[in-house]
Amino acid sequence: MKPLLALLAAAAVAATAGFEDITSKAGVAVAHHNRKFENPYAHIMAGYTALGASASAADYDGDGYDDLFVTDSSANGRNHLFHNNRNLTFTDVAAQAGIDSGNDAANASADSLWFDYNNDGRPDLLVVRFGRSQLYQNLGNGKFKEVGKAAGLDRYLNAITAIAFDYDRDGDVDLFIGAYFKPVNLFKPETPNFFPESFETANNGGGVILYRNNGNGTFTDVTDKSGLQTSGWTLDLGHADADNDGWDDLYVACDFGTDRFFVNRHDGTFGDITEKAIGIDTKKGMNVDWGDFDNDGLLDIYVTNITDDYMKEGNFMWKNNGNLTFTDVSRETNTYDTGWGWGAKFFDYDNDGWLDLYVTNGWVSAGSESYVPDVFEMIIKPDLDLSDARNWPPMGTKSLSGYQKKRLFHNERGQAFTDQAPKFGVDSIKDGRGIATADFDNDGRIDMFVANANGQPFLYRNTMPNVGHWVELVLTGVKSNKLAVGAQVRVTAGGRTQLRFVDGGNSFAGQGSMRLHFGLGAATTIDKVEVRWPTGEKQLVANVPVDKLTKISEGSTK
């Protein structure tokens, strides 16, 4: 019997090898609910506000295990703080922590961001809202305190995304908020003119707001003098050092019009170099994630757009040319068509040393009738004022780019990607939004939490067999911001050097772990670890072991 049992056991492993859906048994199977507005335009708005399903990973209690914050958006929906029980189960402690009340009649949760606003080394939490966002100070005892107003962040915005990084290199992270609608009260609009004025060149959105961290627990809105004045329909923001000059630059993904690229000018301002860097586009930018997919030492950018039978925009895989220009290689790399794209995240799921990519998609999966002809009837009407919500057809129970299969792109040595989602059972057809990648069980394999709009999420445990060796690094800044956001690490092993950086919340409606994870393939030793801290100082770290997590403190060589 033993051989038979062994065979059965092996078969069971084979059936689940790859990614295992542990959503229910992990205790995180809580559905997201879209906001239902109650105003004269509610029946129209319903089709355009299927948003707010976000997930953000961070070790908020410093116990060495990444936890999860997950948003709901309905008026009485509670947000969730899933504390990691260290055994691949989670307990929702949001109410005890005091951070569950992200929704009410005047505010709807849209996104979330862990960031250390007071530079005490503990991740604080921003709940990004249509309305007034909430800033929760992490008190360090499992409790949080709402400090948004005291911090100067209580302005009404229809915020949909946020990232935090130290753009002025003064040692603390600053806050960048992207707003979708302009700041009209969506819950009681005083005007019907709050929809996009154009499908391709709209400039009546919420734009980008930059709050500079004053270093004393407060922020100052410096948008006007920072050079970031935009009025696009911002859906996502992504930062990284595009030209390796030590200063992080900014990509702004916009719906209904061109994305924007801002170069950091080292003096507290940014320059809009969109035309030179990426060109002007008319697409529907949804997601920004940065990663060096081809291991050439330059960080590239993945942006999702809309690609469907009726609208073939194609995504952008912006290959970094190293001179503040980028070339779209999405067709060449097979990452061009992912349907109606949403959150996408680079991560190395098989530890082969090449960044793979997971992409969510799907707008509204509802009835069998399509909403496309309704939109078509609208757009061919001459001289129609699209900014007037009353001119947009209600979606009702129709679907628009729904029931789309997610993509798990395996990186074929930086040349192209192949979709492995069906093989590993991660090709759900739910309306995906945000992705949080983290090694939740500290086994050296990165897991995925996927937030779905108006539905249950997925927690996929990475059970990939025969993965390569790995190393995970946790960085602590001293002169730099404590969580080391913006730090770059170059690891050389097995004859190649990989670049990763600590990002401050890149990718739509999702935030991955701040730990840096390197797949090492067959390499059993690491030749070199070089950290470039946000201050610009470089540090070599010796004797970093493989298949382990190593903590690195700024200024320490061990």
Binding site: E200, K283, S370
Partner: protein, 238 residues
């Protein structure tokens, strides 16, 4: 060489030489000359085609659209002016955003229909029928394309055989394929190949099946690719 050809040659030369202020001035003058020629003969298919072909390299699509708008307003019964007005919209599509492409394509269909209403012709039937095939299935326009192309096929069968008649076999088969009538499509492609044994497009379609066939066909209906809207086949002898 008539005035039209001189103007086209001048524009082509200007494009080849790169854009310089003097050249730009020259281009504008040459386009104006083509417009003047067309205004004097609004139903002249060849003159309209020559004008559009001069517009494409310099990407002055809005100028062309505005010109044909006025031309058709001034000469509402000029069927070929409406046909080329439709093509002027089509010419802009590859350089437009995804939503604008839909608007342009719809405007083009409107002008093709006006042309057909004024004078049912093989070229107008083929043009409108083929245009319908670019629309995603969700819009249910394929059946109209099949109807137009079937009429065009009937028309060409009672005319003298022309080398460009092969286009209807290709497009009608594509329409039937898109309408999920693969046997019907194959029959039309085979019939076409019997008439035009050198047609690479027909050979390619008949040689492929399944996803490979889909790839071959869809490559011809990609809105990002420029459609060859030149009508010179109509007067070029082979």
């Amino acid at each position: 060489m008539n005035r039209t050809w001189i103007a086209i040659a001048a524009v082509a030369m200007a494009v080849a030489q790169g854009v310089r202020p003097a050249v730009v001035t020259s281009q504008q003058a040459d386009l104006a000359a083509l417009e003047a020629a067309l205004s004097a003969a609004p139903d002249d298919l060849r003159a309209a085609n020559d004008y559009r072909m001069a517009i494409i390299p310099v990407k002055q699509y809005d100028r062309s659209i505005a010109f044909f708008k006025k031309l058709t307003a001034d000469h509402p019964t000029a069927a070929n002016a409406h046909l080329n007005y439709g093509f002027a919209y089509v010419d802009k599509i590859p350089d437009a955003g995804a939503i604008t492409q839909v608007i342009l394509a719809n405007n083009a269909l409107g002008e093709f229909t006006k042309s057909l209403d004024l004078r049912p012709s093989w070229i107008a039937l083929y043009t409108r029928g083929n245009s319908y095939l670019f629309w995603p299935r969700i819009f249910n326009r394929t059946k109209y394309g099949i109807a137009d192309l079937t009429e065009a096929l009937k028309m060409q069968k009672i005319e003298t055989k022309r080398h460009y008649h092969v286009r209807v076999y290709v497009s009608l088969g594509d329409g039937l394929w898109k309408y999920d009538d693969l046997p019907g499509a194959a029959n039309i492609w085979r019939e076409g190949l019997a008439q035009f044994p050198d047609s690479d497009k027909l050979k390619a379609r008949l040689a492929k099946q399944g996803d490979e066939l889909k790839t071959v066909i869809e490559a011809d209906y990609d809105p990002q690719k420029r459609v060859d809207t030149s009508l010179q086949d109509l007067w070029m002898e082979r």
